[in-house]
Amino acid sequence: MEINNLYLDLEEIKQRYPENPLEYFKGKKLCLFKACLEKYFPGVRFGIYDLLEELGLEVDVCQHQSCCSGTFFQRNLITRAQFAAINERNVSELNHQADIVLFSCNGCYNSVLRGRDFLKSLDVRRKAEEILTRVKENSSGDNYPGKYEILPELNLRLVHDLDFLYLIRNDVLNSLKFDLKGLNVAIHYGCHYLNLSRDKSNIDGYLKDKTKLEDFVELFGGNPVDYQERESCCGWGASQLVIHPKEALKVTYKKLKSAENVNADFLLMPCPTCLYTLSKPEYREKINKYYGEQLDIPTIHLNELIAILRGCEEERCITLRRMDKRIMEIYKTITQL
């Protein structure tokens, strides 16, 4: 049996619920995929969790889900079959608990879709099945049907937070207390969102400019500013920042500098890995050391921004440890009445 794709079909939802797409999600079990880097940016998780609860949706996280392991696959520390097996273990846990899984991280989203894609290779599928059989033989504790099997036809569907939030944008807008007060916002999508589409027969989906974040900024009362490095990588580059820091930071530097050059008040993005790279003080210091420029432009994840605009408590949107002077100014600008 062929492995099915797990994308949530947004077009179908739009057709079925043209007036209010939120209706589709009511009564369904939603689960937030736990991205490791949310530890540094808890507002990324809380931002969407609180919103979904307020909208009356059933939302949870899966306690048995592990790291997506994409980083280890990209560094050749696990094989394709092992990566696919880790992925299927997570997918089966999520499938046991939820109807729809939401992703705050481009990397995790790409990993789960890719792990599933790999199973289309018969060789990888056979090896992954062997691995999972071994796991089953050695397992103990809670079990349920299908736990250690590759299930080709799953009802579980996956969606990136950005795509989900855009689909229900009217409801998001209705939940806001504040607006962006005309702030200039530079957009960063991140490579694994920009280059995600796997269907080359759909030219639109493949090559058309992605503009959901720009649309959001306008809807929020801000001003999206274009800049030269809009589509460039954040510099993380599957751990290039760890292995070739000086070269990779050049990419980060160019991105931040380009956004500062157009007087952006902050950079908005839909991925905590990009956020980590573009905001880490240690990297900013190194940029200053290597390229002689102290760049201060703040960076914010979409989920954090929505939490700020909704008037959530500080620790539910931007944690205090990130509260530098520029972020504080933005926070105050947005939240003053």
Binding site: C36, V61, C67, N76, I78, R89, N138, L194, N195
Partner: protein
Amino acid sequence: MNYDSPIGSKIKLINLCMYMEDNTESDEEWNYDFLNELVDDVEENRNLIQCISCGKCVGECPATKISDFNIRKIIRKILRGDKSVISNSDIWYCFLCERCKRVCPKEGINIPLLIINLRNESFKKGFGPKYNDLRKYVEMAGRFLTNGTVLEDPLDGSLSQERVDELNEICNFARIKYVFKASNASKDNKKKKKLKKKN
């Protein structure tokens, strides 16, 4: 571009040199032995034969902007049986951003997967990154195999031991296990050194 201007004529000359450099090999120099070895490991690499050397992948590549990484050249070498790409450090500069896959005009060419395959071969032959380059990964591998995430004190706590055991079983014989063992060995050495100092 006005090729009659001083700058234009220089660019014309550079273009001509690049064209000649790229077209000095005849069809007789195609050699698919290396490609076949790569296909044995990752069957999707079979599609590399469709490459038309258009260079779109290079033009959009972040790694090309900061290093000598040039995927067009790497593919040309592979299609001529040149295994030097494995020992060359260039392959370790790829960002795996998948931009090349997006802009490639061909249907089934998966360059990021090819790079992972080449790096695997490089590892096997002993050309991979040195232990120091992987230090961060040593720590991350340790955490993944003990609490299921790559960071200490994850937001939602660690996985239960039963689930961690499952991950360890899946990762049996993987490089991550050896890196994990190396991390334990290095911790033990540090402890021994501390003890020695104390005594």
